[in-house]
């Protein structure tokens, strides 16, 4: 398995797409901070400006990282497997490797590593953006209590909540052999959930459904920025369990399909 992982990381690091996606995380975060910093209210007490302070990076900054990261992780997850079929490279690689399970495992681990790196870079970019806005708008630059601990927890949680959509993209791309389908369907699902969750909650009869889907559980782990009141969200452990179940289900589907599929 280790040789395959080395191969995957070699391909990932030599691919322009990977670098562009990581660059988008950094530039996107910096641009968002500068844009918000220039348009937020003029007084230091304003909520908008407070959200851009360094001490809010692990909360608001990481929420931005999550939003950008989901789309980029979905893009890479779909592309990493669908292009192997599209370019025909899977036929070059598979016969020489340790097996299909090892091949898929290496792909998933490298994808997980990409998500981790993207989130870390996103955090650094958010920190930098926040520092710039803090300096430009003369905001309070204190880190607040437990900044490092909160930041570490937030980085881990952000990476974790991106995984269900990345895994969904991976399985759809594997199933359809299409990057487009692998990217489009999870993004549609992501936004559909954001739009439909308040609707489900308002109907009463289906108010249990959002708890069984992905977005509410992500909101629960991300602490804030939910589209429903915080008290309506599932508990954190329940949310973590539901998200884990989704990731495991998507990965199982991917393995089930890949291990039995003819590569023609």
């Amino acid at each position: 398995m280790l040789p395959l992982l080395r191969c995957e990381l070699f391909k990932l690091t030599h691919r322009v797409m990977t670098r562009v996606l990581l660059l988008i995380v950094v530039i996107g975060l910096l641009a968002a901070y500068l844009l918000l910093g220039s348009t937020a209210g003029t007084n230091e007490g304003d909520t908008g400006l407070n959200d851009l302070r360094i001490r809010a990076v692990y909360d608001n900054g990481m929420f931005l990282v999550y939003q950008v990261g989901v789309i980029l992780a979905v893009t890479l997850a779909a592309s990493t497997i669908a292009t192997e079929f599209g370019w025909g490279t899977i036929r070059t690689l598979l016969p020489r490797t340790a097996g299909r399970s090892a091949f898929l495992t290496a792909k998933l681990i490298s994808l997980g590593l990409f998500v981790a790196v993207a989130v870390l870079l996103g955090f650094v970019a958010a920190l930098l953006g926040s520092a710039l806005v803090t300096a430009l708008r003369d905001l309070d630059s204190s880190l607040g209590p437990g900044f490092v601990g909160h930041s570490l927890t937030s980085v881990v949680k952000t990476a974790y909540v991106i995984l269900p959509y990345a895994a969904l993209a991976f399985v759809i791309a594997l199933w359809s052999r299409s990057s487009a389908a692998g990217i489009a369907i999870p993004i549609v699902a992501f936004y559909a959930e954001v739009l439909l969750t308040p609707l489900f909650n308002s109907t009463g009869a289906l108010d249990w459904l959002p708890h069984a889907l992905i977005y509410n559980n992500i909101s629960s782990l991300m602490d804030s920025h939910a589209v429903v009141p915080k008290e309506d969200l599932p508990g954190r452990w329940q949310a973590a369990g539901v998200l884990t179940a989704y990731v495991m289900a998507f990965i199982s589907l991917a393995f089930g399909r890949f291990l039995t599929r003819d590569v023609t």
């Binding site: 040789p3 191969c7 391909k11 030599h14 370019w87 036929r91 070059t92 016969p95 003819d262």
Partner: protein, 321 residues
């Protein structure tokens, strides 16, 4: 299952480079693949021997690529099995249908990626292979900028990366210029001399005729013929006889017990019979007062044999419909 398969025993000396004789390194037993109602490969029994070059022939859709896919573990057989008797699957180098590599990586990096996936391939081997296939002067050009010929060369380099015991080449001269085609034709016997086995799938039958020890001919997933190329060509050779009364002469020749087939073309007869029986034919015609003007032994090309075999099977199938 393959009652119609023609089998010929090789009368050639042991394959060059094969120190241990014709050891079977890979065998397919009743190998079958169905895609829905379509039978792509139908009960294929085939052996690949160490150090031999086996031509794998068949019209488009005959099941060649599906068979190769099953040998490489890319396609699961519906029935039957592939036995790797003395070669692990990872020691098989193959190009299937066309060379496939990562377009954003250079030739060297593509080989590096493959080498990393396999493990244990020294970096020096990559450079040596690039030099060997004539790609060393463009080490940094992305694969997407390669010409078809360069892609084929990289494909050949990739098949040799893991010091393979069996090399499967599917149309390896596709896109190559005449000099490149000659190089590949020279490379194949060289691989066999090194003790590797080569399976060569190609539509260029003169290429197969020149480099292969044996051929296996498929049609609609069924094995029509497997055997030594020389034996096959010898069996299909004929005598071209020029005689004054061809129809009358044909009737006399047909009556001879060793004659397999006689056809009349203009003033000439094409007689499928052992070459050494020419004198007997001449004598029989002379006894009937017909004198041979010319008698020339003609040897069929593999192309003639291939077309005859595949057309005949096609006719048989058509008659049965």
């Amino acid at each position: 299952m393959n009652s119609s398969v023609e089998q010929t025993r090789s009368q050639e000396p042991p394959t060059p480079g094969a120190a241990s004789g014709p050891e079977v390194i890979l065998r397919t037993v009743g190998l079958t693949k169905r895609f829905g109602a379509i039978v792509a490969v139908d009960g294929l029994d085939l052996e690949v021997r160490r150090g031999e070059v086996l031509g794998f022939l068949g019209p488009n859709g005959a099941g060649k690529s599906t068979t190769v896919g099953m040998i490489l573990g890319l396609i699961a057989p519906t029935a039957g099995r592939v036995e790797y008797t003395s070669v692990p699957r990872r020691r098989i180098g193959a190009i299937i249908e066309w060379p496939a590599f990562y377009p954003y990586l250079s030739g060297r990096d593509n080989l590096r990626a493959l080498a990393l996936a396999v493990g244990g391939v020294p970096a020096a081997r990559i450079d040596a292979l690039l030099e060997y296939v004539g790609l060393a002067d463009r080490p940094k050009s992305p694969y997407r900028t390669y010409s078809m010929g360069m892609k084929q060369r990289l494909g050949i380099a990739s098949t040799l990366l893991c010091d393979p015991e069996l090399v499967i080449l599917d149309e390896p001269t596709n896109g190559l210029d005449p000099a490149g085609q000659r190089e590949v034709r020279d490379l194949i016997p060289e691989l066999a001399r090194e003790g590797r086995s080569v399976v060569l799938a190609s539509h260029l039958l003169h290429e197969v005729e020149h480099v292969c020890h044996r051929v296996a001919i498929l049609r609609q997933g069924k094995l029509l013929h497997v055997g030594a190329v020389k034996d096959l060509l010898r069996r299909r050779s004929f005598l071209e006889i020029t005689v004054a009364e061809p129809e009358q002469a044909a009737a006399i020749i047909r009556a001879l017990p060793f004659v397999r087939r006689v056809s009349v073309q203009d003033e000439r007869l094409a007689v499928i019979a052992p070459e050494e029986r020419g004198a007997d034919i001449s004598r029989a015609l002379g006894d009937a007062g017909l004198y041979v003007t010319a008698m020339v032994p003609r040897h069929s090309s593999l192309e003639d044999v291939f077309l005859e075999l595949t057309d005949r099977e096609s006719d048989t199938a058509g008659a049965g419909d």
